[in-house]
């Protein structure tokens, strides 16, 4: 299953709920959720500890737009828009966490 998160981890519990509830699979961080995938962010450790169960992806255009394209956290896979599409195709179901 693909879990898509779009909220900043610093203002919303969405990412945490996703990681705590879902059993595994792909997680794609888009829009403000990309802040979670930056080195030095308070959410980085949480993301790292979830990597055993999840494969974490980040939508690079969103990270670059925020001036953080060079701060991608260790272990996070960068994807572009076609990578986004591939993820939705390769997973039987997707859930957009609002």
């Amino acid at each position: 299953m693909l879990h898509i998160v779009n909220k900043s981890p610093l203002t919303s519990v969405t990412l945490e709920s996703c990681l705590n509830t879902a059993t595994g699979g792909d997680v794609l961080l888009i829009e403000d959720a990309v802040y979670a995938a930056t080195r030095g962010s308070a959410a980085e450790a949480k993301l790292q500890s979830a990597m055993g169960r999840f494969k974490i992806h980040v939508l690079m255009p969103d990270l670059e737009a925020r001036g953080l394209g060079d701060r991608l956290a260790e272990g996070v896979t960068p994807v572009d828009y076609s990578g986004f599409v591939e993820l939705t195709v390769s997973n039987k179901t997707s859930q957009s966490w609002l």
Binding site: S17, N20, T93, S94, L98
Partner: protein
């Protein structure tokens, strides 16, 4: 019926601060017409949607909480509430206005995996 799909609606927002809860409820009521296998999940602030005794006169907003009690008549009987979310808010099953199944976070995750379609609100 072979073309029945498992639909899950995940409700994570409190009822009146945003429109999500009401929108979700309306989509659920419409979906009921299609005879699918529908589950409703309430987690995070979504559990507040089911709190008994909502009185909205003072905020001049429609109280839509009685509609959750109509769901049974729409043959929507699978309502799941996350245990951890209730506890974090000082609530228990007795505070809720409908009968629900309380599940742990882990059980909720497993239930999600069984779905064909998951819609999050």
């Amino acid at each position: 019926m072979s073309d029945t799909k498992k639909f899950m609606f995940v409700n994570r927002k409190a009822p009146y601060g945003t429109i999500y809860a009401l929108e979700s409820l309306e989509v659920v009521l419409i979906t009921a017409a299609f005879d699918q296998d529908v589950s409703l999940v309430f987690m995070d602030d979504g559990v507040y949607q089911l709190k008994k005794g909502q009185q909205t006169k003072g905020i001049e907003t429609k109280n839509f909480s009685p509609a959750y009690r109509a769901l049974e008549g729409y043959d929507i009987e699978k309502l799941y509430v996350e245990q951890e979310a209730l506890e974090a808010r000082g609530l228990s099953e007795d505070d809720l206005l409908v009968d629900v199944t309380v599940l742990s976070r882990a059980e909720m995750g497993a239930l999600m995996d069984e779905q064909d379609v998951v819609l999050s609100f």
